[in-house]
Amino acid sequence: MTLLPQALAGAVCAVEGVRGAVALLHGSTGCKFHLAALVEQQDPREVARAPLVGSVLQLYGQSRVPCTDIWAEDLVFGGEAKLEQALDTLLGDDSPEAAELVAVIASSPLAAIGDDLQGLIASARGRAARAGVRPIQVVAVDGGGLVGGAAEGFQRATRSLVREVARPDAPRRPETVNLLGLSVMHPRWSDDVAELRRMLRAIGVEVNAVLTAGATLDEIRRLGAADLNVVIHAEYGAGLARELGRLFHQPNVGAEGLAPIGLANSEAWLRAVGEALGLPSGRIAAALDGERSLVLRRMLPALSALDRTAPLKGRSAAIFGEAGPAAALATFLTEYLGIEVVLLGLDSNGAAALAQVRRLEELIGPVPSVKWRTDLTAVRDALAEARPNLVFGGSFERAAAADAGLPACCHVDFGYPLWHRTVLTERPVLGYRGTLALVEGVLNAAAGCSPERVI
């Protein structure tokens, strides 16, 4: 069984991450159901639950990702009528909760049959204008069709949004940056945005816009105002950085480096931003020292205590996730904690993913086993063969590890989905506070799974 995030998921999450935007899926309810479930889990909002049956746009009790409910005959004869009806319904909504922007995303079969999205959108806008309703922006967004994974779909959809929404004449905002390549699909994304804002504030920098997790339409309109584009996850943001560079002549950092996961990577990321902005070196150094001291004050006593009884050095780990975060985590485990990564299971592919893995191997040497976009049976078999002391992954990998005979205590949550756990506290993945959360998970797993301790 293969359960890997695909381009359509990336595209939908790109749009749904924007406050005031709605992704209208021109496709079947099968696609809608799992995408809406993903969005509702990753980006929960206080809205009334939709009825289980009712409007064709909202089904299964899901209030997110409305859908045109395409059936087999629509694939033969075309789905224009249903899309027209859906657009008229959305554009005629004048409630306070109504969207400011509707992004039409065609699912793979609809992309293949070639419904005239632009024409239909233009007609719908015309009808809405004649009816005198509040104008709502409607765009056709490239959903990626059958090509690529979530990262590619995210970048394509975000590029469509940027081209439609961003203004070329936004007034400059000095010492501000855009954060690129963070999706609501990324676990703990809102805590990550808060952490990155906090880190940047420590060097006196503010965030102009985020693409796209938690962004507002106003932020997207003023994308061109920032001094610098900062890539968080290269697979999700490197292409966007190049696009914004072309549109607004903005420099970028982070497109070649590792995500800010773990202490060293977080420091390198923050230092790169400060240096790219030409900030005084003293300001950067003071901020980095202060952040590092705060983390070490909490982390070192716990690491030292475990080291006396059940050392981390010499243990082995398997990491499952997209290439970028997996590579960043691998360097942290190897160089900072002395844990050897013996198995990588990578959900993404493409040039950006390969570049991340190459970067990883330059830093720590080759990983004994690397699996690309493989199914859960192969994950289970790879775990059974490698028998790592620690497994970093989501709910699927946790189940596969159990099937492989590994103890539950050796699992550390990483990546997504994480359906087996509810987290109500702030718990970022990225940055300095993300490092504390990560080390906390490692220490608890390592201590729980260590047979060497004696009472």
Binding site: L263, A264, R292, S293, L296, R297, M299, L300, L303, S304, D307, R308, T309, P311, L312, K313, G314, R315, S316, T334, E335, Y336, L337, G338, E340, S450, P451, E452, R453, V454, I455
Partner: protein, 305 residues
Amino acid sequence: MIAVPSGGICTGSFDAGMTAAYRTLIEELVPGPQPREPRVVNVLAEKNLYLGEEREFAEIARLLGGLGARVGCRLVRRVTTTEMARAGAAALNLPRDRDYGIVLARQLEQATGVPYLEREYPAGRVATREWLIAVGEALELGAAARELVAVEESRYRERLELARSSLAGKRLVVVAGAANPGWIVELALDLGLIVTRVCFLGESEPSILAALAEAGVPATQAADAEAAIAEARDLGAQLVLVPYGLARAIDGAAVRSLPSLPPTGYTVLNEAETWARLARRPEVEGWRRDADWAASKRGAGESSR
């Protein structure tokens, strides 16, 4: 309800209390001789305070399963009174160790007539082979035991090869506490390590020293752990194994704190794989360098006041 004499805090030691408890449990809950079940064994005196005990038992159960035998009763760990009532039906008792296991085995032999193996849990290739053959012969499964040994040793050699590639030719120093380092030296030699020295913390038994001499391994006695570690550094050791809880950072060497009890059976291979990982990456971890950095900042802060 049964009364177990313990003497509270006034009389005797941990040993005395344990022995008294065992005696009482046998007297009260284990009936006399019963018809034998030929392939059933009991495991005696497991270490209930050791967090790794289930892992050790799992290896014993796996090896017995390979012989076609099974564990009937664990005296006394995760056992029911019903199981204890059947303890006298086993064909053989297997002590966990010599300290309490043999004591309990003798008590049970008197009470039930069940014989016992005068060996503790095996650690390492040779001891496990001898243990399996002895158990097999006691259960009249000698042929099965020899066949099992051949299969297990083939698998052992295969897994060992992966670790050998990272370890062969590297210099090893073992800092030994009270326990017999025999399984460590055997594993090290199987891996192609050069066992440069075994440093004992305190006196060692003559038989252990003789065995090391026979294997061509130099042995010394160090005044304390610091002296032993200094000796390892001076010898240019690339891998240093120290007793549980005594690990230090040594420049240029990978340091491993040994498990507090020897791994059972062929699970010594887990140690081999850990040594190999350490040898592949002997560099000091980032968090230790940060600990030095934090300490130097504190020192600078104090001296400026």
